[in-house]
Amino acid sequence: MTLLEVNDLHVTYAGDPDVEAVRGVSFTLEEGETLGIVGESGCGKTTLAQAIMGALPDNGRITGGEIIFDGQDITHLSNRERREIRWEQMSMISQSAMNSLDPVYRVKDQIKEAIQEHRDASDAESYERARELMELVGLDPDRVEDYPHQLSGGMRQRVIIAMSLALDPDLIIADEPTTALDVIIQEQILYRIKELQRELGNSMVMVTHDISVVAETCDSMVVMYGGELMESGNVDEIFNNAHHPYTLGLQNAFPSVEGEKRDLTSIPGSPPDLSEPLQGCPFASRCPFAAPVCEEEVPVQEPVDGHRVRCHEPVPFEQIRDRSGEDETWLSQNKV
């Protein structure tokens, strides 16, 4: 069953000038599945996550499209209505969350507060739940007595995950949950998140710049660039059979410790200015395969077997795939 459906979503930040950070993104998330949203800084992935969560900054608002969660249109719910959904049905683990714990309260009081905000639970019940949650994320339950500064970064991030699970939400949105952590702690935390998901059956949206995290933890993925969706589909399909030049560029830029060593490519140029309206494909100015049509018309392609590619295919996809592995292809455009 579909748990989350995002249709042609637009999000704009008011300012001078306005910035349209998300420009018509659509995807669906099935129950119990994990969807990766991947892209580079400024591509709109965090804004998209915040829009779903109802946690946009004050100057951000949804200017088009809809978000359907569990059959209910939540696009234009009031803040009060959103708060009810938030944490109980949907919770968020954000990038900087491990620094957002309140330094003057013990861990147990912070978890207790998160529970009692939404549930009619006694102090004793909340305390028990807090200990249970600590164990769930692989921490010693006695550490609920600690203050945040007594915990390492990895432990604090586990506490944040414990809090996000406090009310058994159906959907967890994780925005770069392990970016600030070392690889060993990252692996421990991602493994724990996946195990919990298997045990508890919740769905997840994983927002990250790291395509290898998506490969290892997600079922399906959305590749974003310049506020728009470039390519989406099942993770196996996108990794083995990517079509879009940007997806291929990202994959070829990414190092791996697996297999034979290969040269990495880079994508010269910089992302588009999202305060300007765009005519064609946002990637056209950096795309070595771009044809005139790419600058003029927005590419629209219907998904084939769930695999969506928003590209005019100026050159046949097989050729794009072959040539995108060579640095010269990308350097032929222009320089960073």
């Binding site: 690889v183 395509i211 290892e216 410790v257």
Partner: protein, 343 residues
Amino acid sequence: MAITEQSLNWDYDGPIMEVTGLEKHFPQNTGIIHQLIGGETSHVKAVDGVDMAIERGKTMGLVGESGCGKSTLGEVLIGLQEPTGGSIKFLGTELESMSDTQRKEFRRNVQMIFQDPYESLNPRFSVEQWIREPLEVHDIDNQDERIYEALERAELTPPENYINEHPHELSGGERQRVSIARALVLEPKFIVADEPVSMLDVSVRASILNLLRKLVDDLDMGALYISHDLSLIRQMCDRTSVMYLGKVVERGPTEQLIKGPKHPYARALLDAVPVPNPDHNISEPQLEGEPPDPVELPEGCNFRPRCPFAAEECFEEPGLDAYQTPDGEHAAACWRVETVDNM
């Protein structure tokens, strides 16, 4: 440069940078009350007996978790921190015994490229001012020419387009290139790059790595590349050292180490790196918990308390001679390499 009595030996053909038994211990509990009540001073052993040699034109990778001492080691190598023990030789000359002239030459010839191009650039400075500063400090002539050349080397071309820019007008990749130009303008012989691409977008990382590799080659510099990510180290480094709690626990040619790590810590570190391959699902972590504080180190092998393969013999401390390939190129400080290989 003419070789006078006081100058460094520029023709030295041994390792450009060589350290033996290098230590950097930070004292703890040095407060006056603590001393009055007769408390003992303990030490954080950030770097604890490291041997390392880096050749001209080569890049050494240094990998480990945060807190393992890798950044401290980098800072000691370029003279930002004084070592508390062991020796540092630059071009074959002991740092401690350098004359004032030699020390000045040393400072000019070892440079650092920092992790965060957003924080390391002074926002008020133009690119030109930022790159000129080290030239002023070292009182070097032909400044304009050198600034242009450094920008060109860092592939910020044409230099006229960049020279008057301020940091906020540049992209992340361009800022890191400016940092590189600043480090290069003194034409150093040795550079330390501490996570130079971790703050950059994936699509520009490769271009910065390729640039660094090319510069090490072209300018025949030695380099130490510090990262927690072996997949980046692999792209950059000829040889790699793995550091845990202040000690090098494994070293070897990078490809050999990545294809066949020997120390259990190196094995775990490699296993933890996610790979961009959907057939590779996240596996159960090999290591629990986090490294202990490098204050009270365990008896014997440092890694013993976290090591899934620890045995009786690990109560005796292994050195890098505990396991070595016949050619001596690949070494690991572990008694149980063969046993674990056969498991």
